[in-house]
Amino acid sequence: MKFYRSHVLVSIDPASVAKGVHELIDALQDELVTQGLIGEVQVLETSQISEHPEGLEMVVYPEGVHYTGIQIDDVPYLVEEHFLKGRVVKRFLAKETKPSDEELGPPKSKEVRVVLRNCGQIDPENIEDYIIEDGYQALGKVLSEMTPEQVIEEVITSGLRGRGGAGFSTGRKWQFAKSAPGDVKYLICNADEGDPGAFMNRRVLESDPHSVIEGMVIAAYAIGCNQGYVYCRAEYPLAVKRLNTAIKQARAIGLFGNNILGSDFSFDLEVRIGAGAFVCGEETALMASIEGRRGEPRPRPPFPAIQGLWGKPTNINNVETYANIPQIISRGAAWFASMGTEKSKGTKTFAIAGDVNNTGLIEVPLGITLREVIYDVGGGIKNNKNFKAVQTGGPMGGCLPAQYLDMPVDYESLMSAGSIMGSGGMIVMDEDTCMVDIARFFMDFTQDESCGKCTPCRVGTRRILEILERICEGEGRESDIETLEMLCRQIKTTSLCGLGQGAPNPVESTLKHFRSEYEAHIREKRCPSKVCRKLIHYNIVDACTGCLVCARNCPVNAITGERRQLHVIDAELCIRCGICEQVCNFNAVEVWS
């Protein structure tokens, strides 16, 4: 192989072709010949370098110098300065741009990226990019060196638990499916990420689809499946497209189909798209949907490992679970188990949303405290407000107040605090959030998404919602809290699937930790956070200069007053839209409750 002291990577994409990048490359080659450097400097083509380049651009290695905005006339000067004299040409240096990725910035302190390691680093539509990052090495190792039993043993030893939320040991799950009687077995990847605020699976599928596919092929080999499905929600069109591209490319080089990598193992994979039903994230409902039926869950047992898709033994894991597998195989179970706590190993991705400074996707070792997640990684509460609660685990999770901030984030701790890990949604709320309103909000979601098959979930969630709506409107009754607690208990214990069983969690946890807010709403008809419209009123205080702006903007003409005189809001007419407060330049409109 010929040795070059310098490599120039020139960005080639449709935009730069239009700007004459090929002419630039020719000019560069000619100039290198002229200056006698052609044997030392190699010019290569690469894909788009930066998102919004200003003109043609290139990166020079080994220095990693990024040049942009180069014209053909600049080439002789650039070659002489950089390659002959070894000086960086400052005027072409690309400006440091702020990362435009709003979801996933550079890793923050305390982050450890395992599942997200390739996200934003590789081209997800090019299998070679994944292979360069040691992709499909684990599959090669498994097929050439390991028996299915050894693979399962390795996954059990790693301590990996289901990242979809329930936290069951992945290796044990595989073992059940493997030992289930039957020749035909199916493998499913649950990519029906429906929890509001959770988008980590979408990001992995869009940015690193091969890691999920590789994990699935390894699982299929361990269990003995020849057919797999990825069930992806239709709300994620890009993820579906990238998955299909990835499968096509993997099939083209023999990573799917018969005799994978020359072994006697055969496996194929198909993508199935949901049609918008939250409950399809539940495994039995998901399988019904793949079969072309209404996505309604059925009682378990029999568990899918015994009787799943079309009645055959089936293994279902979440996107993130599969994405962990290749690295567990290539870096070893001990490496994986070195991260996390005694019972919760490895890392977990979280999508932080709500009132924190850095919203977006993070990946942290399990066992990190909520405080570290919210303040160190999340950058603290927006606008220097006070933390009030964090809701973990999506709509089936609970709201935890400040006293839990130092609790480690692991499956057991979250469960004992009345919440769940779930798929990793994390909604942070500041002091201005009304917890009764939040509980009402989550109940509105679950009662809407209840599939209606079992009565406790269908009717029970509706009854809870009605009571909460009443409380928020100032019609709460003294017995409401007891009724809510009873309903929560009954729905939890008698519902058919995880949706109903988890639905009361937001209500139960807010009743437990923020009971006084419920009491203020019910007894004093007051919303301490000043959110519930029926329980607040607007008042104009002495700071009013009588400028008439609020009166002119009031949609119901509830504000009266002469110019330069204190205005008054008629509480009877006021619809509490808050426009007066927004338009007042003197902070003279206050919300009282």
Binding site: E193, G194, A353
Partner: protein, 160 residues
């Protein structure tokens, strides 16, 4: 009442194309319904009957599936479908004020289609772009970081 089928397409042709693309077994039902819904704008009764015939499945079975999933509609929808995310992350970022303003602007409640057939307003489950909440989608276009003031400018793009 709007009975126009999007683009004046022939129902039977659309259904048969979807069936030959996806297959004619029970497990192909949802992909077929999604294709037909996308092309026709909704699932008219004639389409359901035609699918029932092609897949040899009872009409009730087809209807059970078509009415279950949120992305499938058995009612005609407006020319532009606005899907507003009212999930928790968008809610705490001020999504409710934006939705309220949108409702006032269009004079529609979620789930309704305007009398002139221009707009359908829907609340959707989280599309997972919470980093830029509050979020809505108009047809295929996504709009993030919404504030009530931006609405009329956005809607104007779709008004003729």
């Amino acid at each position: 009442m709007i009975t126009n089928i999007k683009n004046g397409l022939d129902v039977s042709t659309v259904v048969q194309a979807a069936v030959s693309q996806h297959g004619a077994t029970h497990e192909d039902l949802i992909p077929i319904l999604l294709s037909v819904n996308e092309q026709l704008g909704y699932l008219p009764t004639e389409a359901l009957s035609e699918i029932s015939h092609s897949l040899r499945l009872a009409h009730s079975e087809i209807m059970a599936v078509a009415s279950f999933y949120r992305m499938l509609s058995t009612e005609p929808r407006g020319k532009h479908v606005i899907q507003f995310c009212e999930s928790a992350p968008c809610h705490v970022m001020g999504g409710r004020q934006v939705l309220r303003a949108l409702q006032e602007e269009l004079n529609l409640e979620p789930g309704q289609t305007s009398a002139d057939g221009q707009w359908t307003l829907l609340e959707i489950s989280c599309p997972g772009i919470c980093g830029v909440g509050p979020v809505m989608m108009i047809d295929e276009d996504v709009y993030g970081n919404l504030v009530p003031e931006r609405l009329s400018e956005i809607l104007a793009k779709y008004r003729e």
